[in-house]
Symmetry: C2
Subunit: 435 residues, 2 copies
Amino acid sequence: MISLNFKASLDFLGAPVYNAFLERSLKAFDTLVSGSGAGNDFLGWLNLPSDMLNSSILAEIEEVKERWYKMGVDTVVSIGIGGSYLGAAAAIKALSPSFHKEGTPEEPEVLFAGNNLSEDYLYELLEYIKEKNVGVVVISKSGTTTEPAVTFRILKSYMEQRYGLERAKELIVAITDARKGALKGLSEKMGYKTFVIPDNVGGRFSVLTPVGLLPIALAGFDIKRMLEGAADMQRACAIREADNGAIQYAAVRNALYSCGKKIEILANYNPKLQLFGEWWKQLYGESEGKEGKGIFPAAVSNTTDLHSMGQFIQQAERNLMEVVLNVREAEHTVTIESSKDDSDGLNYLAGRRVEEVNANAFEGTLMAHVDGLVPNTVIEIDHLDEYSLGELFYFFEFACGVSGYLLGVNPFDQPGVEFYKKNMFKLLGKPGYQK
Amino acid sequence: MISLNFKASLDFLGAPVYNAFLERSLKAFDTLVSGSGAGNDFLGWLNLPSDMLNSSILAEIEEVKERWYKMGVDTVVSIGIGGSYLGAAAAIKALSPSFHKEGTPEEPEVLFAGNNLSEDYLYELLEYIKEKNVGVVVISKSGTTTEPAVTFRILKSYMEQRYGLERAKELIVAITDARKGALKGLSEKMGYKTFVIPDNVGGRFSVLTPVGLLPIALAGFDIKRMLEGAADMQRACAIREADNGAIQYAAVRNALYSCGKKIEILANYNPKLQLFGEWWKQLYGESEGKEGKGIFPAAVSNTTDLHSMGQFIQQAERNLMEVVLNVREAEHTVTIESSKDDSDGLNYLAGRRVEEVNANAFEGTLMAHVDGLVPNTVIEIDHLDEYSLGELFYFFEFACGVSGYLLGVNPFDQPGVEFYKKNMFKLLGKPGYQK
């Protein structure tokens, strides 16, 4: 299991402060698990890991994988934005090699699109896939969200022209609403294989639905193992106790927020976790940033960013807290060798592994930041693998539900996302939105 | 030239507030250009664009390029951290295609290393370059900074074993101190071609020295054009007037900071600018984040992050301001076609370009954020090219110098970066740092 350490934050907070927030956190836990809070029609994610493991969905995903394998698909374009992009992207980045790997039918390359409106991005995508064997996954509850809809309209036309209507139909899979919406209607008409985005699971909580699972599986990773990690965490999070890590994390961060810590930084020490930070930012930012409230979520990849944001974190305004994500074991071995002249002065490291230096950078930074009055929560996993990612996804989701209720907001809506869209539709002259 | 628009911020601020800060900004400008402020031994970047254009460095860079071209180098590993990484990475990302392109001797792939301590990253780098023809650029003032030093020790040994001592010597270039330091000494001993990191240019201001220019040129981009853009901006920034954009930007952001805007978000509408955001974060975070002061720098890539951080920016705590970077023209054309059944409801966009939708997302978001009391500075360029990047690099550097002095800090030091290093050295038992 992942290990959690709140010591630095508990030392920072006076006991009465922490205890008061722990009480509130336990109450927020009750609100969450009893389904009595605002947004309670979006609690489907609570039981997703066990639900998914007991469903036919893993087998259905396997069927798509096999079909596309037989068809020689070596490149998958996954079209989606927000929660329909970040979870899968985070997991695939975490589990993939650091440098480019050519896609194969065994392990296709998964590309993400429909998550921006850059014309050059789309043009270059179409250029890139010219020589590839392409499958398309389109993910949208409604089918009318501008970014994925524009992208899918273009990709659909591309696939049909390139492969013909019949074959294109086999090479497109839609993940959408069970019953209604433009993409559901189109999928029925065209005969696409579809997966369901459950009504009671919001986008940022959807990584353990087919929204995340299908792209992750297509990339060659073990989604059953990921769900097992999540299911174990689901059981751990369900226990109403003061040492439930999710309850503690929610208490700590809100207590620190009440003491002026307005910004929370997710810090990793493994560059493969960079997009996990992006996933986490959406989860917490969108769940809590409303009604004039919310901790600003930011992310850094260390030790890279110790030479960028490090100065600020160490000595700027003391309105920061950290949640530090550490992976204990590397998967490969690189040892630092001795050098004859030791001109770089590194012989004191000879015979030691690079990851040992990284681990000491992690420890040394924690100490430095605590000295600099930046309190932290430390979360450690042994290996960066499917199981641990499942644990982390569920842990942060559950803690986010508790934390949002503790903060006094509905953690499951996102009313502010509509504002730019309305303006954009007006400017574009969309029917019904005229200026 | 880039265009700047401060209207939303000026509307937000009362005129007396802005005028007071404009006065201070003009004084800070005087401090900067007269060289009378703290850190004034690090002002070499002020005249870098014209200095570089008039030097032999472009020709020397061209020589390395030609030599490596003849040797068939298709993959360059650029080793550096912080300012010895971010500027080149930002420019190369901005100018490269969105998807992986195999390196060739004409346009080598530039990989970055030495910017973290991940053992798996290093292992996978060594695996990746096995089949490539490799050149190495190592960038370090001292040669003893842990991340690049560990990486270079391993890469040096790799190159010598693979290519032999003589050929490896030709395939390694060092960018380092003019006279002293471990890397300078080693380079002389080994006979590496070297470029100089000027003594009076700090890391985060070094993108227009060989630190940034060599990797950018090796990737196939026009560094002369970049310097020309920077030189034009150098001339524009040097004018002591109230409508000097750099002076205005420094005034606006400090005025807003004094009104409680604690976080500044650099927002782009082009995913190729994602690493430019990282470069900007180092520049401002490290220059200003000290003595308990400083605006927290964050970055978002839109429209991607409108479905992630968008909710927070629209409706959370009103402690945010934005600087929005917009590229007016796409380089390629993708037009949205009409569809017979219009199931996705996008026919109102038929015949229009994707970038037009993006431009309206940009406009619509600006309006929404202003309504949400998030003031902004808008910076626009026509094309994302070398010239514009040169302008942007110099503009932000100059404005940062002014802004730091206005804030009352030394914008050119980074004392806080040493804290984690000292702890790490103690933990690792480095000679001289025993516990």
